[in-house]
């Protein structure tokens, strides 16, 4: 599975409780849509750290990095590129 598929599936199943791909667009804001609350951010961080073997720094906790499927995928890819 690609990074995007993995993240999409995780968010769909764990925050929207569905496998309906049409329930979420890649650039839908998690925060604005009420999809993710303060604890949800923590859940997502734990997930990407464990799944992609990266570490999210405090200063990286930005909507630009975390607030949509597209942002998350780009963020993970950047982190992996730096680590590689």
């Amino acid at each position: 599975m690609s990074i995007k598929q993995t993240i999409r599936r995780y968010v769909l199943e764990n925050f929207l409780f569905t496998d309906d791909e049409s329930a979420l667009k890649d650039d839908d804001s998690f925060l604005a849509g009420g999809i993710i609350d303060s604890t949800g951010v923590l859940e997502i961080m734990l997930f990407v750290e464990e799944t992609f073997d990266i570490k999210v720094e405090d200063e990286e906790m930005l909507p630009e990095n975390l607030d949509s499927i597209a942002n998350l995928v780009a963020f993970v890819q950047r982190k992996q590129a730096v680590a590689a």
């Binding site: 409780f17 569905t18 009420g34 609350d37 303060s38 604890t39 200063e59 906790m61 909507p63």
Partner: protein, 654 residues
């Protein structure tokens, strides 16, 4: 306390049979294990009353149903009239003759003296069925805030009523149905909105209401409600004077609640309210006092250290029941059976253990601190609303929302992600802070997210949004009250009456035949508190300001100054930190979810996966899972196994 029940004919040709009146009693035995009785209006056969008794006052003379001297007024009564001694004196002077020393008889004579206004003279907690044989009319009355329950339903040409829904079941021709609107309300406010219950066509007498059945017609009136100053006519006086008045009122409310012919204990959580209550009891009673509390294995929920501090400070004999996660999981079906409704938290379950501890220690009566947060302004939600009001005056402010950090210390406020979250979540309704539900929008919004698990069929059956329905029913004066008072009213009408006093209160106490008494809910205390300006309830962000002042000389500083900790029990961890009991897997199986039809089996499956992985930390996930499980349990107890449940209840000997 006790259980009451009855049947009344709605048409002239209908007659009530004694066997039907008796069939309602076994389901109420836990409320009244010390005796039972019935009254059948003879020869008319128009009405039958039932009663199961927990004897607390006038152990010899208080049997019910009870009548006046010429047997024209009959009563079945659950509760306590704490001012019965004073009221008896007044009625004796007016020429009434008493044959017992019970508080029940005082009600009968008060009705003779004052008519339907008798209820205005009662200070207490009560559910009353009163039959006036000469006028052929039935009164059903509940206390002002809803401490004691009373349900009714129409069955053909008969009206059935009882302290608990389960006593109505044996006379229903078929199993009740769960109401989609009630589920919508529960998954918004945590409780059905009075007079609705979880079940279609079964209603409660709302708190502060009087129902009169006469000539086949049911007439409902409000005899009391929470109300607040509309034109700035707050109580006058210096802080010191009002502090003194509050103390005297609380002391008297406590003193009259110590009246009983059996020993009286108290719940002690370690928070301000129960600590204040225990301090008041110690100051105004000579008797040794026994107190009771709950301990949890999750240290973030456990308040033992504070409890111990109070025990030493006040010199009480304290007992504690420890509640393990697995205890909660195992006890949960019985909790739901007693609560008779879906609930979004497991918190009632340990309360049943607590009443079990009191009972096993030889106590039938406990004083407890509920109501202080509602009347005197203690809830975090009130603070949150105050901060959001303040923020709404300058919505662009970066700084104003950061005040929320003082309220929720765990809240992450650093960084752009957290700031965006703050703005999105707590900023809800900021453009219209005068809207009636403003104070509760965040809670209702979060809770209503659980509705994502509703099945398409259930969602399709919903006609009106629960919050809109509530707003439409608010009293006309609501909009003229101070925003702080509006929040208090909403809290009293949703969580207090609909959940705290019943699912988490009466039903968990009565499951073990224990009576709770609530000094902070004495209507004199509420009426006094309602006329206080909100700055005496919450000064800046210091909650229950006047109560703290009133108790300052009697409590340790650590208790007065501790950050308020809401009572909670473990929710999902109670079921999933180890292997859950078999009923959990069974009721949450795809087959049962589909067959019962309330929830989307696939979505619940994803939630279960998440719970099993141990990664459900969000409030809404916890509420959703407990709400789904308790709804399934209600269906299982009261619908799927309808006949069996009735049969099992009838096996209970009276």
């Amino acid at each position: 306390m006790c259980g009451i029940s009855g049947i009344v004919a709605l048409s002239a040709r209908t007659r009530i049979s004694e066997s039907d009146v008796r069939r309602m009693l076994p389901a109420l035995r836990h409320r009244g294990p010390d005796g039972s009785g019935i009254y059948l209006d003879d020869p008319s056969g128009r009405i039958g009353l039932g009663h199961t008794r927990l004897s607390i006052i006038d152990l010899e003379g208080g049997a019910q149903p009870m009548a006046n001297e010429d047997q024209t007024v009959w009563i079945s009564f659950n509760g306590e009239i704490f001012n019965y001694i004073e009221l008896r004196e007044v009625l004796l002077k007016a020429g009434h003759r008493f044959s017992t020393h019970s508080d029940t008889e005082v009600i009968v004579h008060a009705y003779e003296q004052y008519g339907d206004d008798f209820v205005q003279h009662l200070n207490g907690q009560f559910a009353i069925a009163l039959w006036d044989a000469s006028r052929q009319r039935l009164l059903l009355v509940r206390d002002r805030v809803g401490i004691l329950p009373l349900f009714y339903t129409r069955q053909g040409e008969r009206l059935l009523f009882a302290s608990e829904i389960k006593a109505l079941l044996p006379l229903l021709s078929e199993a009740p149905r769960i109401s989609p609107a009630a589920l919508d309300q529960i998954f918004t406010f945590w409780a059905p909105r009075s007079p609705h219950t979880l079940f279609e066509d079964i209603f409660e007498v709302p708190p502060g209401h009087l129902l009169v059945l006469e000539n086949g017609h049911l007439r409902e009136s409000v005899y009391w409600d929470w109300h607040f100053p509309e034109q700035g006519d707050y109580l006058a006086g210096s802080d010191a004077e009002l502090t003194g008045q509050l103390y005297e009122l609380l002391a008297d409310a406590t003193r009259i609640r110590l009246r009983a012919d059996v020993p009286v204990g108290a719940y002690l959580s370690g928070g301000l309210d129960s600590s204040a209550l225990v301090a008041l009891i110690r100051r105004h009673s000579e008797a040794p006092l026994k107190t009771f509390s709950i301990g949890f294995e999750d240290k973030s929920l456990d308040e033992s250290a504070f409890q111990q501090q109070l025990v030493e400070h006040l010199g009480v004999d304290h007992r504690r029941v420890f509640c393990h996660n697995r205890d909660i999981a195992e006890d949960f079906p019985a909790t739901v059976f007693h609560a008779e409704t879906a609930i979004l938290r497991t918190a009632p379950t340990p309360m049943r253990r607590l009443s079990g501890l009191a009972r096993a220690s030889g106590y039938k009566v406990v004083l407890t601190g509920e109501g202080a947060d509602e009347a005197l302004g203690g809830y975090d939600l009130f603070k949150e609303a105050k901060i959001r009001q303040f923020w709404a005056r300058n919505p662009r402010s970066e700084w104003r929302p950061l005040l929320l950090k003082a309220l929720y210390p765990y809240l992450e406020t650093a960084g752009a992600q957290a700031k965006t979250y703050l703005r999105n979540f707590y900023g809800i309704g900021l453009d219209h802070p005068e809207q009636p539900g403003f104070s509760h929008l965040t809670r209702w919004f979060t809770t209503a997210q659980c509705k994502v698990f509703f099945s398409p069929e259930l969602t399709a059956a919903l006609r009106e949004d629960a919050a809109t329905g509530l707003i439409d029913q608010l009293p006309p004066a609501f909009g003229r009250w101070h925003p702080f008072n509006r929040a208090q009213y909403l809290e009293a009408k949703t969580l207090l009456g609909g959940y705290l006093l019943c699912s988490q209160g009466d039903r968990m106490l009565m499951a073990n035949s224990v009576e709770g008494r609530f000094p902070f809910l004495d209507h004199r205390v509420i009426e006094f508190a309602n006329r206080l300006h909100s700055r005496l309830k919450m000064r800046a962000l210091n909650e229950k300001f006047l109560l703290k002042r009133a108790m300052a000389a009697h409590l340790p500083r650590e208790i007065l100054e501790r950050h308020k900790q809401p009572y909670r029990a473990p929710d999902i961890p109670a079921f999933f930190s180890a292997r859950p009991p078999a009923y959990v897997d069974d009721l949450l199986s795809e087959e049962k979810l589909r067959r019962y039809g309330y929830f989307d089996a696939k979505k619940v499956g994803f939630l279960l996966n998440k719970a099993r992985r141990g990664s459900t930390i969000a409030y809404k996930d916890n509420m959703a899972l407990v709400g789904i499980l308790s709804t399934q349990l209600c269906h299982d107890h009261f619908i799927e196994r309808f006949s069996q449940t009735i049969h099992e209840m009838s096996e209970t000997s009276l």
